[in-house]
């Protein structure tokens, strides 16, 4: 009888119930909220479902030493986590993004690239604020990149500059990307007049296939020569786009934008979620990161909209740009462009801004990769 009781006690000590802490339960609850939001509200479900479930996996209380935890060398989760830790998942995602993105909107109106550049101010504004809060420059750089609204870039940069903060940064970046419509709309309305919201922009010209093929090659050469440290992201982004546009690598392009990106997105979401173990995640630092992440999104949106308003002072006639596409300079594709369209139609149902907003939107992808390269060059 005593043996049975001892065995039962030993078994109890192995269970999650015996090892649970309130922090684990909080994180599991947050994971469930992520999944609920993703399914119920359909906010970034492809990211929030894996991250949410990853949070649950990572916070199952367990007996240490079983070699199953994400931070235990050689465990299955640890092996999968290497793609995040070593930073090779994000470039693979960029390969897929390049293979699925049509840069026509940008090529037809290259001036809109500057809006993509203006929105990157969010990254550097958050960098300054993080320094003020006492973070080291490398940590501040990793936190600032949340303002790029680009999950893979945020993971890539934080894995290089501040691996210990990566979980909080990644979750913050993806969470705010899901909340783009909620965050950006009030800022856009506050910063624009009714007259500005009604500006109609001329239809962009058609883009030839030759231009589409030239774009990834020339775009890569120009950006990579200026910021070589952005090579992994820029290289994969433009390479993926060349696969798409060349017309002779159809199978490769389809794999990159289909099965490959799906597999990597699943793994990156799951492992980033699992990396948010309560003992490493629930801290005052994480709360600061979430606050700074929100501010970086606000600054990015504000700077994009204000930049267009400022630019309009020098433009005449139908060259004027509707400032409602200024928010699309952050690289949350196509969510922020969709916000431009929806807000624009609220004031003029026949004024469709989507195709114009897609230009700065994809410019934001390039801009955030360039910004990440610069930060890596200075602080890496």
């Amino acid at each position: 009888m005593e043996t049975i009781i001892d065995s039962l006690v030993q078994f109890w000590n192995f269970t999650g119930f015996a090892n649970a802490s309130w922090q684990n339960l909080v994180m599991i609850l947050i994971g469930i909220i992520f999944i609920t939001i993703a399914i119920w509200k359909e906010w970034e479900p492809l990211l929030l479902v894996p991250i949410g479930f990853g949070m649950i996996i990572g916070n199952i209380p367990m007996f240490p030493g079983l070699n199953i935890g994400i931070y235990e060398d050689g465990s299955v989760l640890n092996t999968l986590y290497q793609g995040v830790k070593q930073g090779w998942y994000p470039p693979l995602i960029f390969l897929g993004i390049g293979a699925m993105t049509d840069f026509s909107a940008l090529i037809s109106q290259p001036r809109l690239l500057l809006i993509g550049a203006a929105a990157q101010v969010g990254i550097f504004g958050a960098y300054l604020l993080a320094l003020l809060l006492g973070f080291d420059p490398n940590q501040a750089g990793a936190i600032g990149i949340i303002g790029g609204a680009d999950g893979p870039t945020a993971i890539f940069l934080s894995s290089q500059l501040a691996p210990d903060l990566m979980g909080a940064i990644a979750v913050s970046a993806y969470s705010y990307m899901a909340l783009v419509p909620v965050i950006q709309r009030p800022i856009m309305l506050a910063l624009t007049t009714k007259k500005e919201r009604l500006i109609r922009m001329p239809a962009p010209r058609a883009v030839s296939q030759k231009e589409k093929i030239i774009f990834p090659v020339v775009g890569f050469l120009l950006t990579a020569f200026i910021v070589p440290s952005g090579l992994p992201l820029l290289g994969m982004l433009f390479f993926g786009n060349l696969l798409k546009e060349s017309g002779v690598t159809r199978r490769l392009a389809e794999t990159a934008r289909g099965p490959l990106i799906d597999v990597v997105t699943t793994l990156i979401g799951l492992t980033v979620g699992a990396s948010t173990q309560a003992d490493k995640f629930l801290s005052a630092t994480s709360i600061k990161i979430f606050g700074l992440g929100l501010l970086s999104f606000v600054i990015a949106t504000t700077s994009g909209v204000l930049f267009v308003k400022f630019w309009n002072l020098f433009l005449k006639g139908n060259r004027k740009i509707n400032p409602l596409i200024g928010n699309a300079g952050v690289s949350a594709v196509p969510d922020s462009a969709r916000v431009s369209e929806v807000v624009g139609r609220e004031f003029d149902p026949s004024n469709h801004l989507l195709m114009h907003a897609m230009g700065p939107n994809v410019a934001g992808v390039i801009g955030s990769a360039v910004a990440a390269g610069i930060l890596l060059g200075f602080l890496g």
């Binding site: 001036r111 990157q120 030239i214 020339v218 469709h352 801009g367 360039v370």
Partner: protein
């Protein structure tokens, strides 16, 4: 046209040749430090004190140096052959290895068959036995227990300057061992972060402005070629709905298919309608109706022989 292509190819070749290409191979190795008279310093695996040669890997990848040579005689560059079969002969990125110059190579791979002398030059030679990868001259007045070393200089730490009678650091980095990280340097030099922000924002703008100018120019050239001579006329899409209607259709599809599909359809429809021409989209197949008569009832009837 052919001439232009030739010029372009020549320019590309010239640009490639001008680039300082680097690869992780024995040419990245440097003789980084030499000590001739060792009375109280490093002992070898046999407990003996001899002169030594430190070889540093100046690259960011592991370099294998099996088969290379060490020599102190320019007339005999193959004096000591590093065994080509020894798999331990690799040095990690920015790391170094030490060869003991005791004059007895039978002790192992890292023991040379010659002793060091002041006033001579030590050569590291490639595995072809002819190409000198690097050399370091031993000063005639080098003191006992002092070394001659190459100290990394410059921001990339790839270039060196020779330092004589230095405190020996066998197997250790010759630069500043207390070197600060870039982040620490930035914290000291730019505590508020304003300089970095200014430079970074300018660089982002510069990159994208250059891109905008280049593609503005490419676009204009492309348009001129398209419009020139009237060779390719734009055709009007007959009976097509207006761009507004097209976008409205896309918005409706959003309910069914999701955001990405919505964005893609709206953009595609817009391009098709606004420019009134279908650009050569990849993977698009346009099927036009052409009467073949395959379903003509008359052709399906058995034809009775005419009397």
């Amino acid at each position: 046209m052919k001439r232009n292509r030739l010029i372009l190819a020549a320019l590309l070749l010239a640009a490639t040749a001008a680039l300082p290409l680097r690869a992780q191979n024995p040419t990245d190795l440097r003789i980084s430090e030499i000590l001739v008279e060792n009375t109280k310093g490093l002992t070898d695996d046999y407990g003996e004190r001899n002169g030594w040669i430190e070889v540093f890997n100046n690259s960011n990848g592991t370099v294998r140096f099996a088969g290379c040579y060490l020599s102190d005689d320019p007339a005999d560059l193959k004096k000591y052959h590093i065994p080509s079969t020894d798999r331990s002969t690799a040095v990690g990125p920015r790391q170094s290895v030490v060869f003991y110059a005791g004059g007895d190579a039978s002790k192992g791979t890292y023991y040379t068959n010659f002793k060091l002398r002041r006033g001579t030059t030590v050569y590291l030679v490639s595995n072809d036995g002819r190409t000198v990868i690097d050399c370091l001259e031993i000063p005639a007045n080098l003191e006992a227990d002092k070394s001659v070393m190459k100290v990394p200089v410059g921001i990339k730490a790839m270039d060196f300057q020779v330092k004589e009678n230095a405190v020996p650091t066998p197997g250790a980095y010759n630069g500043d061992v207390d070197a600060k990280t870039k982040s620490q340097i930035m914290k000291e030099k730019d505590p508020t972060g304003l300089v970095l922000v200014l430079i970074s924002v300018s660089t982002v703008f510069l990159s994208l402005t250059i891109l905008a100018f280049v593609f503005g120019w490419i676009g204009k050239t492309s348009q001129r070629m398209l419009d020139g001579g009237g060779k390719k006329k734009r055709r009007k899409a007959a009976g097509a709905p207006s761009p507004e209607v097209a976008t409205a259709i896309a918005m409706a599809l959003d309910q069914e298919l999701g955001g990405e599909t919505y964005a893609a359809i709206a953009l595609a429809l817009h391009q098709y309608l606004a420019s009134a021409c279908h650009d050569t989209e990849t993977y698009r197949l346009t099927i036009r109706h052409a009467a073949s008569g395959w379903n003509n009832k008359v052709l399906n009837f058995r034809q009775l022989p005419k009397k």
